[in-house]
Every structure is written in structure tokens, then in C-alpha cells.
Subunit: 483 residues, 4 copies
């Protein structure tokens, strides 16, 4: 069970499975979190009367006076989110979201603010709430509220607060949402449960997280999905960046910030050679670690061989390893028995999607001593003095102990914006009451909006070449099944 959420046994607990929590997990070392004032007063925002400088009080944030600080964070984020800025410019003339009334439930961070303000620039009206009780950057929420976006969110909500905020977003007089942007499915769930009639006007749901997408597919199977939904979690650009490339960068960062380990010469076993594992292995090998992998799937195992990694069973190598990293998505991949056999000082951490890959529960037993040596770092001490170094209590290392580059979040946010535009403007009948992947052409458009960051110059097909390939000159260039 995820430690952090143990107070919230049901949905809130499941939310922690969502990959996107990473964006602003507040017990991270994220710099963004560092400016959050810790000396805040203890009054609940629900009990405060606040008004922004335009006279509006249709919001509920920690402290509207923090708006200026938050504005600067948003401006810094904008620098690495030029795709959204250019989307604002390209689409602004036509206001493709004119008439859209979007209710959103996501992490509320500077990056999200850039997204929201882009949606507004494209013509939409927005109301927003947080999908996680800890992840809100209060100053950013204040900055949004100050400019007139009704935001209902603060860091450290109770579960009751959480649902209250969602309700305030949806249930408001004289305004009814016609688009939903969700991350985790709680907003969607609430509307289904409390205000099913809202769906009569809703043109579509855009969902970002593994968990939320899973819920949508279940609704769809059960025949209960009553509007089209767009699964942006599985779009190519998001998958590749969040997994392969992002993990390539964050595995090193997460290990360094927590343990100051030197990578050169370290013996590392990576459990799982999917995209996440591939990213981890690439980075560690490049920095001089000696990496082997475990796999259940012979295809991935064969790729690992060709990429120069020995494929082993964990038990064969566990005694020699300096670092053990799980990236399987499975549970109990590292068992107590294997933890017992690790050598003194072995570092154990998890880059997969759940917090059960390492059997951490088995370590909470009387014969073992836990010693917290730093934030996110525990020494588990065996009776003979052996210490195993457990990071983030087995939760996701990259979410807990490293930062996610704004550039990666830009890709996700741009995808969300395009999905909203597509669903809102799609002609009647293009989308049924089902879950869709973003059309490949839009994936390609998201990618193309990010190329200027790299000063990359695309080649264009000549008419003759397009004809030869059977392609439209403007794409899509990949079949829909490409991933």
C-alpha cells in the first residue's frame, strides 16, 4: 500500500498509481515546491473570504496574495513550453475553442497553468480543480485565480475538501461544462454519480492517466460511456517521452540526489526491459555502470542481449549487485528472500508504475530496523548489521526524488490541448461513445510543434515522392498502429 495515501483507502489511494502524479509530487526535491511558504496560516481556504483584484471571489485557493510569485513561475515554465505558446499564436485568430466550457481536474502546477491559459487564449472558459490533495502549487493557483480562472485547489486538502473542490467546479450556477479534462478519472466519476445530466451537453472527455483510461475502458465495455473519450495517455509522443527518454534522464538524477552514488563500475540489475527499463539501462551503461537485466518476455530479453546486457534471473546475481531497480509494472518482483541475500549497502529502488514491485511490506517486520537517513532514503538494518538502502519506500523514484523536465510536460499538455480541440470541433458522428486514441496526424502535429526547440528542420515530400509512398504530403506518415 502506498504509504502516503494510506489515510485515503479507496479512490484516493488508487490515484497514486497514476503516472502523471509525477508532475508535481510535493514530497519531491522539486525546486518548484521549494518556494511554497511553510509558514502558512492554518485557516482552511474554505473558511476564508478572498477576492481577486478584479473583484471576483469565484475561486478557492490558499492565498490570493501569492499570485505575483505564481505568475513568475508560470512565466518561467512558458520558456520551455513554446509549443503551447506557438499553438496560441497559430490558432488564436480562429479561436477554435470559442464556446468551449472546460472543467478540468489535474495537478495544478506552473505547467498546467500554461495549458489552462492557452485554452483560454483559444476561446475556452475553464473551471479547474486538483486531482491530487498534495500536488497543488498554491502560488500558481493564486495566479490563475487572480486572472479570473475559477480555481478550487490547495496543497494539503482533506479528502472531504477534495470532493468539495470538484463539486464547486462542476456545480455552478449559470455555467455548464461541455468538455472534461481529467487526470485519474475522479472528476468524471463525480459527474457520473452526481450530475449525469451534464453529459447531455458534454462533447467529450480527455483523460491523461493510466488509471483514468482504465476506468473509461471499463465504462465503455459496460456500455455506460455516454460521450466520446480521448485516451491521451497512450499517444506515441507521450509514451516515448514519459518512458524511454524521461527515465533515461531521471534514473541518474534520482539516484544521485538521494545517494550521491558514483555510477562508474557499479553492478546494477534492472528488472524489466520495456521502455522504462531501456531508458534506465541506456543511461546507466553510458555512465560506466555494469548492467544486467531480468525479463519474463523473450522478445524483450532478446533485445537486451542485442543491446549488450546480460539477461539473468534475479536470484543468480542478487548477492553481487550494488543497485537493484524495478521497472516491470508487476508486484513482488523483489522479494523478502532476495532482500535478505543482498549485500551490505545495496540500493533498492523502483521506476515501474506501482509501489508494490519491491515487497516493502515484508521489510516492516520486528527483526529489521528502519533508519531514515535522508528524506526519501531509509536504511533497513538486518540483525547482523547489514544495511539495505531503500529509496522512496519503494514508490516511484523518478516521481519522488527527481524532477520532470518542463519540456516533457509540454508534450503532454500540448496533446491535451489538441485532443480538446479535436473533440470539440469534430463533426457529428466522427466520434461515437467510445474511447479513442489521438489520430496519428495530431500526434505528429504535437511533435512538430516541439521541433523548433531543437532548431530541427523537417524535410518535405515532393509531390512525386508523396505519390510514390502513397502518403499525403502533410502526413500522417505513420500508420495508426505505429507506436
Amino acid at each position: 500500500m502506498n504509504h502516503k495515501f494510506s489515510k485515503f483507502p479507496t479512490k484516493a489511494g488508487r490515484r497514486s498509481l497514476s503516472r502523471s502524479i509525477s508532475q508535481s509530487s510535493t514530497d519531491s526535491y522539486s525546486s518548484a515546491a521549494s518556494y511554497t511558504d511553510s509558514s502558512d496560516d492554518e485557516t482552511s481556504p474554505r473558511d476564508k473570504a478572498q477576492v481577486n483584484t478584479h473583484g471576483s471571489s469565484d475561486f478557492c485557493v490558499k492565498n490570493i496574495k501569492q499570485a505575483e510569485f505564481g505568475r513568475r513561475e508560470i512565466e518561467i515554465a512558458e520558456q520551455d513550453m513554446s509549443a503551447l505558446i506557438s499553438l496560441r499564436k497559430r490558432a488564436q485568430g480562429e479561436k477554435p475553442l470559442a464556446g468551449a466550457k472546460i472543467v478540468g481536474c489535474t495537478h495544478i502546477t506552473a505547467q498546467t497553468a500554461v495549458l489552462i491559459e492557452t485554452l483560454v487564449a483559444l476561446g475556452a472558459q475553464c473551471r479547474w480543480t486538483a486531482c491530487n490533495i498534495y500536488s497543488t502549487q498554491n502560488e500558481v493557483a493564486a495566479a490563475l485565480a487572480e486572472t479570473g480562472v475559477p480555481v478550487f485547489a490547495w496543497k494539503g486538502e482533506s479528502e472531504d475538501d477534495f470532493w468539495w473542490c470538484i463539486d464547486r467546479c462542476v456545480n455552478t450556477e449559470g455555467w455548464q461544462a461541455n468538455m472534461i479534462l481529467d487526470d485519474g478519472g475522479d472528476l468524471t466519476h463525480w459527474v457520473y454519480k452526481k450530475y449525469p445530466s451534464v453529459f447531455k451537453k458534454v462533447r467529450g472527455i480527455v483523460e491523461e492517466s493510466v488509471t483514468g483510461v482504465h476506468r473509461l475502458y471499463q465504462l465503455s465495455k459496460a456500455g455506460k460511456l455516454c460521450v466520446p473519450a480521448m485516451n491521451v495517455n497512450d499517444s506515441v509522443t507521450k509514451q516515448k517521452f514519459d518512458n524511454l527518454y524521461c527515465c533515461r534522464e531521471s534514473i541518474l538524477d534520482g539516484l544521485k540526489r538521494t545517494t550521491d552514488i558514483m555510477f562508474g563500475g557499479k553492478q546494477v540489475v534492472v528488472c524489466g526491459y520495456g521502455e522504462v527499463g531501456k531508458g534506465c539501462c541506456t543511461a546507466l551503461k553510458a555512465l560506466g555502470a555494469i548492467v544486467c537485466i531480468t525479463e519474463i518476455d523473450p522478445i524483450c530479453a532478446l533485445q537486451a542481449c542485442m543491446d549488450g546486457f546480460r539477461v539473468v534471473k534475479l536470484s543468480e546475481v542478487i548477492r553481487q549487485m550494488d543497485v537493484v531497480i524495478t521497472c516491470t509494472g508487476n508486484k513482488n518482483v523483489v522479494t523478502r528472500e532476495q532482500l535478505d541475500r543482498m549485500k551490505n549497502g545495496c540500493i533498492v529502488c523502483n521506476m515501474g508504475h506501482s509501489n508494490t514491485e519491491i515487497d516493502v511490506a515484508s521489510l516492516r517486520s520486528p527483526e529489521l530496523t528502519w533508519e531514515r537517513v535522508r528524506s526519501q532514503v531509509d536504511h533497513i538494518i538486518w540483525p547482523d548489521g547489514k544495511r539495505v538502502v531503500l529509496l522512496a519506500e519503494g514508490r516511484l523514484l523518478n516521481l519522488s526524488c527527481s524532477t520532470v523536465p518542463t519540456f516533457v510536460l509540454s508534450i503532454t499538455a500540448t496533446t491535451q490541448a489538441l485532443a480538446l480541440i479535436e473533440l470539440f470541433n469534430a463533426p457529428e458522428g466522427r466520434y461515437k461513445q467510445d474511447v479513442y486514441l489521438l489520430p496519428k496526424k495530431m500526434d505528429e502535429y504535437v511533435a512538430s510543434l516541439h521541433l523548433p526547440n531543437f532548431d530541427a528542420h523537417l524535410t518535405e515530400l515532393s509531390d512525386e515522392q508523396a505519390k510514390y509512398m502513397g502518403l499525403n504530403k502533410n502526413g500522417p506518415f505513420k500508420p495508426n498502429y505505429y507506436r
Copy 2:
């Protein structure tokens, strides 16, 4: 137009598009080719009366007396094709191909011989012919004929010989094929045209090549496909190995053998960042070349950026490049205008799938002088003395100028064997008259048969883990859309 095949304007010409031609392209530096005696007599094999030591004359090869030499080549190939050998062992007891009568049309090489003899060991009867007029290893054909496989093929067939050989395989008294293994679709085409009634007994077609698969899909669309067909060209293991990994190895080999170029510090542009381009870029960068890429597809372009390659237009960089490599599958990717702007000594070659990526035709003009400096290496000399080094006349470098490791061919051959077993044994109704991809589970089985080569040890799911993941413990582990 592929130079080599220009005499055969229609189907035979198209055969050169097939990727699998690589396996034994005889104008390569392939060692296999080196032992082919060049002093052979000039009598056509069709005019010779030959008998093997068992008294059979149901074959037509160059010289049955070369059998012993061919046998040794087959034995050498077996050492790197342990997957097939282990398939022989695992499946031999039950003879899963007992009753199968397979007619095959592929390149005839030592590696193919290992496949054929595996099929025989599994219970099949086989008759075989060549899919390419140049690629037959005469000694191997002799060795097969000696052991009793009716083989009709020799190096240097005429087009008339080509169809005669196919006919002799299909049209034989007292034996009717019930399975087809094809590479390029010529055998299938011949049966459709001449002996359509054969299809009444045929349980399925296994097709290996891009071209052949394309023909099958066209038949299917036209409603004319009358038996199930298995597309092994697009199976995961084949794609990954033939493209990414195989090109990673062969780009270096092909360039070295032809030009003795030093890679360190060379400025290289790779056109196309698909799997082939990725393989080329990885290898060249690793050896110290400075690589940039061109792309039409923003998704691949973004991957290139993240992988550390500048994305440029060819015209922007063409003057500075030491090496230009095409991997697009498109045509006229390198134009005459760009060839005109290359610097003296620039090397130009093609790793894509056709021979039209470089506009070689434009170089055959009076103002330019061609000078053949080595096999597969031409200097094209401009009036001002500038020389451009063109490899393999723009045909596939890795097929023409490097070798394909037996290990890669083993993967393809194993996939073919499994596809034959699957189609032959499938219960009525599992496969309709359509084109199928190999079931993911079989892909995984092919991979697993190759893991012992690397002493790789797979991990097995526990019951609990399999349940948690919703997987069968024995796979498939990947969804069918995985690639």
C-alpha cells in the same frame, strides 16, 4: 530500376525489392560465394543427366558432385542456427509436419538448407526452387539433392530456367503440395496461374518478403485469396533484427569493405530515422562519426533530437558531408542537384529498401565520367575533377557489400518453420482466406529459442504475478499490436 535485373523487366525485376535477397546476393563479398567454382563447365544443368548416390535423379542442380563441399557449409551454418536444431529436437518426437508436402521457393543457401532439413526432420516432404536467378549456392543445392530433397536451382539461371524450375517443383506426378513457402510471390503466382486446382489441398501459404506480402494483400483485397496466408515479414523478431540490429552491424561493415574509410570525425548525414536509420546512426555515432539526419515525419524527427542527432534538410548540409546514407524507402531522396553540390570524395550509399533513393539515373549522363575503382565502388567524376564515390550503384549496401550474420537468418528461418507448423496444424476455422501475422506467442517462442545463444535466463512469472498482470504464465506477454 535495379541495374542487375534490368534484363527481366517485370516480376523478376520486382523481386529485387525483397529484403531477403540479401541472404545470398552473389555479387557480395560473402564468404559463401567465394568457394563457388568459377571454372564450371558451360553446359546447362537442364541438359545434364545427374544421379545422386541413392539413385535418384529427381532434381536439377549445377553439379551433384559438389555435394560434399556443400554439406560442410551446411554444417558450419548449423552452428549459428541452434534454434532450428533445438526445434528439431523438441518437436521431433511428435513430427508436427508429418503429412506436410511443402513446395518452397526461396534463396538457396546453407542457411535455407538448415531450414529445409529441419522441416524434413519434423516429418515434411519438400520440393524446392530458387526465388532469385543469381543467389543459389550450387554446392548447397547439390548437398540437398544428394540427401534426397528434390531441388531445382542453380546460380545464373535464365528467366526461362527460372520458371521451368518452379514448374518442375509444382508439377510432378504422384505428389501434390499442401503447403507453400514463398519469398517474393513468384511461386504463388505460378500456381495461381497454371495450377489453381492445387489450392484445393493447400492449407496455407507462408510468405517472407515485402513484395510477396504486398501481392497477397492485393489478392486478399480483390477477394481472390483462396487459402490462409501468413505474413512472416512483419513479425516483431524479423523486423527488429533485420532492421535495427542488422543495419547497426552492416553499415560499418559495408562502408569499410568498400572504402576503408576511417569513421572517426567523419561528417555523415543519414536520410530517414526509421529502424534502419536508427541502426545506422547508432553505429556511426559510436565509432566517432558526427551524424545528422533528415526526416519528413515529426515523430521520428523528435526521436532523433532526443537521441542527439541534429535534424536538417539535406540541402543545408550537403556541401560539408563526407558520407551520405539513404534509409527512407522513398525515391529521389538524393537528387542530381545535391550530387552536384557534394564535396570531392563524398561517399554516397543506400541502406533503404529500393535502389532509387539516390537518383543514380541522373548520373548516367555524358558530362560525367564513371570509373569503377573496385567491385561495387564507382567514382563519378565531374568535369572539374570532383569525384563522388558511389557504392553498389545505389543498390542496398548491406546486401551488396557486407554479409548478413547467420544468426539473423536463423530468426527468419525459425519463424518460417513455426508459421508452417501453425498453418498445417491449425484447427479448421482458425484461419480464414486472409493474410495473418504470426501470433504473438509464436514470435515469443522464436525469440525464446534464440536466447540460449546468449546464455540468457528468462524469469518466470509466479501464479500470483501472472494473475496480477492478467497474463498467462507462458505468454503471450505482449499485446498483438506490439511491434
Copy 3:
């Protein structure tokens, strides 16, 4: 001029040139610093009366009660300094430092404590002070004092405190040093100036820093060096680890912790391709950055070419760069004019050995606005709004913004211990009044003591092989000029 030390115009300022300052620079993100209590009382340690639990008051630290915390830090450091621990074991029987009276002046950190306690275990008596007014870990100093080592050091000394502490180490009744371990040369300088007669008994000086070594060579040239000195700064193991390998790790860490930058696709120019530059380039390229370099030396430039980096002049590329890193050891490598031409958001930092590689002084002018956005991160804002991101005010990034792995410090500390043993035990006449490099055989011994960390198994020469190579079986294997 180094900003931090600007209050101390002379020697203390120069100390900042020393590479070894890195080990505990206290304005870093170093974990070690994090536990230093910030609520300390303001009384000067010189005014406190403190007694350890053994009744001794021959020390001066911040707070002797922090000893337990410091002990634990020492224990953690010991885990990665097994070479020193094994040195304790191997040499303990014979006590090679029995009779040695060592006065030391170094950074006082957990790692130094492991060294000091090793020296004691080998038979030495030690007195210790700090070579830097900021770098002392107070808890560690307390732990040393508690076990009976006379330590005179605390974090935040005044310059007067600094020299007072040195004096208290040297000038003590009934005890006279016969060995000096120095880092920066201040202790040596003090003894020369105040207590020259001490040198009558001193058998040698071991000096660790660039600055201190430079001073020793000057003394030697001037004929004023009156005892042998060992330059451990230039030993192979220290050079290779501190430069190539350590920078390979710390450049990524330093950039991530300060800017959360994504490396993939970033355009980076590294000024200088010596060992430091090579380490930076290797790491950045491996993580997907597109790296070019500048060089003045054609040999290094040619190496860069062969390693796959474009060699450019800074002015040619400055407009396109995302990151500019200096590693030259020279000054004004990045000029104001070049800073003016950088693009918005460009990150500028220094990995070389001084703080003048970037002309930071030129940025302190009225038309530019400085904005501190995080610790160690300044935005310099041009009148047109362009921001350049300056890290650590141009001081060494890896010392200021990343940590140095204990393993690297272990190599240095082991080298220091061996140099002390060598000088103390050398037969009369082996060393004159000159500056020596550590004998190659000792370098090799230091390396061999660290191999068990990697479970590395050395091969031994057979008698026959040793004879063939003209080598002693136990080394040295390298000529003395090897580096």
C-alpha cells in the same frame, strides 16, 4: 576574483583555487551539509569551555555534544572507503606510523575523519585544523575531538580564527610535529613564518592541492624548501578520478540540480577538451546532447574530432547554444561580447579550475539585472528581456552544485596516507629537499586497494612473462612518466 572569499584578499582567497575545496563546500547541495544545525548559538567556539567525555579539553569545535551525530556520518563514509579500512588492517600489525606526529590542515569532513582515524590506527599522533573557513562539518569535528584527536575548526571561522586554529595545532607544549599534511599550503606557510625550527624534526610534507603544490615548487626553485615534499595532487589515480571520471558524473548532476534541464537534444559547447572536458563531453553526449568543443591545442582538438565532436570557435556557435561549459583553466574564455550574443535561456557554467573562465565581472554592470532564482542560480537579464542563466556565479559547478562521491575522496585520502607512510619510513637520503611525485608503485598500490569495491580480479604475471616484459611481478607496471 572569487566572490565568496572577497573579504579575505590574500591567501584565503587563493585557497579557493584548490580543487579539493569541493569535498565539503558548504554552500553546495551536499547532503553532508544538510544536517548541520542552523539554530546554533552565536558564541564563538574560542570562548567556550568544552570537555570531551574522556576529560580532555585539547580541542576547539563548535559543539562537542554533536559527536554522536558526527560518528554516524563517519561510519557511513567508512562504507565507501574500504581501501582505508583495509589499509588499517594490512598495516596495523607493524604500525608503520608509530612515532609519527602529524599536523594536518585540510577540509574537515566525514571522509577526512576516516583518514585521520586510519593514521591513528597506524600508530600516528595527529593534530588537525581546517584549510577552509566554511567547509568544516561541525559534527564530524566534534566526533574526532570526542575520540581524543585535538581538532581546531568550525564552520564559519573568521580569518583571525583561521590562523588561530592553525597556530593551536602547531604551537603546543610537549608535542612537536614531525610530519605535515597540507591542503593549500597555509599550514606550511605558517610554520615557515612562525616556527621555522619545527622543520628540523619534520621528515616531510604531503601536499594535496594545485595551489599548495605550486607554492612548494616555488620554494624549491628558490632553494628554500628544507624538507622533502610529496605532491599527491599529480598522482595518476587522483588526476584520472578527479578529472575524467568525476566530471563525467558531476556535470550531469550539477546541471540537473540547478536547472532541471533535459539533456536530450540540447546544443552544448564545451570549452576545453582536456580530461575535464573529455569527462563532460562523454556524459552529455551519452545522454543525448549535441556537443561541440573549442580548443587552443591541436592535439586535443584532433582527439575531439576522432571522438566525434565538432571543433568550433565559440563565436561561430554562440547564438545557437543551449548550454555553455568552460573547462580550460584559462580566463575570459566566455567574454561579455559572447554573453551578449547568447540566446534567451542559455545556461552558462564553469567546470574548470578557476572562477574567471566566464567573465562574470563584466555582467555586474548597470544595464543588466541580476535575479537570484534559486540557490546557485542567477538570471542575468538584458534590457530586451533576454535571460542568461548563470550557475554558481561562474565558480566551479561540480564543487558548488553537485556532490563528490566518497569513493573518489577515498582514492585521494589513501594516496595521502601512503605518502605519509613513505616519507616517514624512507631511508635517509631517498628523498632530498625537493618536491616528489608518489612513486608509481604506490599509485598502483592505491589503485589495487580500490579494486575490491568492484570485485575486480587482477591477473598475475608468471615468472616467464615478467622476465619477457622486463618487469617485476609486483610492479611497478608503468614507467614513472606514465600519466
Copy 4:
């Protein structure tokens, strides 16, 4: 004992130790060798009367009529030797070798011809002979003779021919050498023995090979060296290029051309982690091989650890290895006992400097069968059928089975030219009767002449910077002990 030279038991045999033999080893796959007509008449060149088109007969080559073919080879080589061409241009005005009479004894290849013609262009008179009885490219020798350089060399000389040719170069009426360029020391030896008075006029010897340099140092130690000698073998640029970079390229090439091995996933052990080993390991790891190393020297072993290679004893891993590569310079590194324990199909080869690293002699025993499967490839077959694949009979793989890029030879040739210029023009007294390394500044000049090949742009020090660093603006930038 080197197989090839076994007929020449003494000096000629030792010549095979010389690294530089690589340049034209004639049993290689070198393209250069391929055009040598094999149908030559059998008359000894010594018995032929030949005259070039200018009427001169002061030469002795295989066939003067091959001059045109040789000229084209020289022109092709010139394209990659632009450093020499630019040296011709820069120094031609002043003719720095005017008056020099150079007698040379080197491999005679197209690359050497570019060197010789450069020396002539700079004012020298040259007479030339071959340092190896097999390595002469007859056509190139003819081309040189045609332009008036007295060349005495052909492919396939007898030992008597060998010394006759040397004698004809030295002992000629009306011409006495004042400079010697030697490769292996045979020419120097001959002059010492037969014409010691020649040394009265000789201003210096330039020696290229390990063996020749070794002889010179012995002469020097014995007090018998009577002129200055320049050791160009140990210059930085030559060492780095011939070892690290050249081996990085040639290990892959040598293995591919002989065995067509796929590198991905192969288990490889490299014996020795000096520059050669580092080059091999870098390339193999980059292509997906799993590499471990053996070392006797703890410093190199520690570098291997940090670079991500396991350090093992050969016996620990020998059973699992797919490839064994020696790079130690030592003998019997791979013993018969270890060969006995290799697995079936294991490839064994040598990249070090002698042919005794693998105990090949021990394999020439009755119980083992040798089977030559290709040029340079032997299968050694154990009684149980196990085959070990031995390349080049244990001689240097990169010399026997791959090619050396002209660019690398250009560096060596340029260094030789500069050494000749330096010695010829040095003021009286600069060089004594001793062996010298090329001054660092000249090393740097050699490097700088090769930078244009890479379009590399050097940065120049400002006056202020040069002063700060204590350097001359034009170099040298490295201390003389740098390597």
C-alpha cells in the same frame, strides 16, 4: 615464431614485430594489394634491364611499365593525405630540405610515395628501399622510379635481395646520404656495419618502429650512437592514432571480414586494457558486445572498472566466452590449457604487438586438427569435435585482416617529414648523439595540419590569456612529458 618469416631466422624475423608492417602487409585483404598482377613473369628484377621514360636506369623494380597504374594509386592516397600536400605548399617556397640527401628504408606503398614526393618537393634528394620483403606495392615502386626517384624494391624479395637493395641505396657513386629514414633499423644497421664513414656526414636518423627505436636506445646506451636520432614511434599523435583510434576501428573490421560474426550480445574478453585494449573495448561495447577485461596493472584495471568493464581472470570466464582478444604485448597470455577449455566456436585473435600472445605453438600438436576455412581463418579441431576459430595464426589481426586508413598513415608520414626537417635544419648543438622524441610543438603542428580534414577551427589565445597561462600563443601547449 612468426610463421611468415620463419625462413629468415634473425633480423628479418624480428622485423615482423614492427607495428608499421601493417601498412601494406600483403597477405591482408587490403585493396591496395588486390591490383598487384599475379601473373608476373618470374625473372628477377635484378636480372632485368629497365629504363624509365627519362632515360634513367638508376632503380630496380618489378616492372617499370606499371608506373601509370601506380601513379593513380598515389593520387588516390593524396586525397586523404592533405596534411602532406599542405606541407608541400607551406614549405615549398623555402625548400627546407634543399641539400638533404635522404636514404630511406620503409614499406613502399602509395602512402609512402606521397611522403617521398613531399620530401622531394621540399628540396631533398631521395634513394629508397623496402623494409619488408613482402610489402612493396610494385606499381607504386614503378611510379616512383618513373619520376626519377631511385627505388630498389619489389614484392617477394629473397633475403639476399633485401640486403642487395639496401646496399644499392647507400653505396652509390657520387652521392652520399646525409639523412636516414628507417623503419626497423636494418638500413641503419647496414650502414653501421658496412659504411661507418657515412655517419660523418649524416645529420640524423629518423626511426619509425618499436624495434628500430629499441635498437637505437641500445646503441645509445652502449655509447655507439654517433648521430642524433629521432624516435617518431613514441610521438603523441602516432601513439594515440595507431593505438586507441585505429584499433577502435580495426577490431570490428578484422573480425567481420574473417568471421562475419554478429557483435550484438557476444561475450568477449579483452586481455589488456592499455590504449589498444581501450580501443577494442570501446568499439565492441558500442556494437552491443558484453565485454570483460583482464589486467595485471591495477591502474588500468581501475580505469576498466570506471569505464564499465568487469575485470576478471581469464580462467574464470574462459568457458563462457564467444571471443578472446589479446592486447598485452606479453607472451602466452592465452595458454593451451585455456584453449582446451574454450567452448565450441570460440574465436581467438591477437591485437597486441607480437605473435606470441596466444600460445599458437601449443596448438601444433598431433591430437589437434587444423582446417583452413578461409584466408587467415583456421579451425583448430579437438578430438571431441570442438572447434576453436584462430585468426591470422595469432599474428596481428588488424594488420592481417583489416586495412589501415590512409588518414592514420598520413599522421605518421607527416611526423616523419617534420622530424627530417627538424634534424636537418637544427642549429649545431641542439641535438647530441642521443635518441630524441619529437618536440611537443612539432607534434602539435602535425595535429594542426590534420585538422582541416575535419573542418575543425582552432581557437587562438589572446595575449592576455597566453600570459595568464604562461604559454606562447603558438604553443607548445602541452608539457613535454604529456602523452
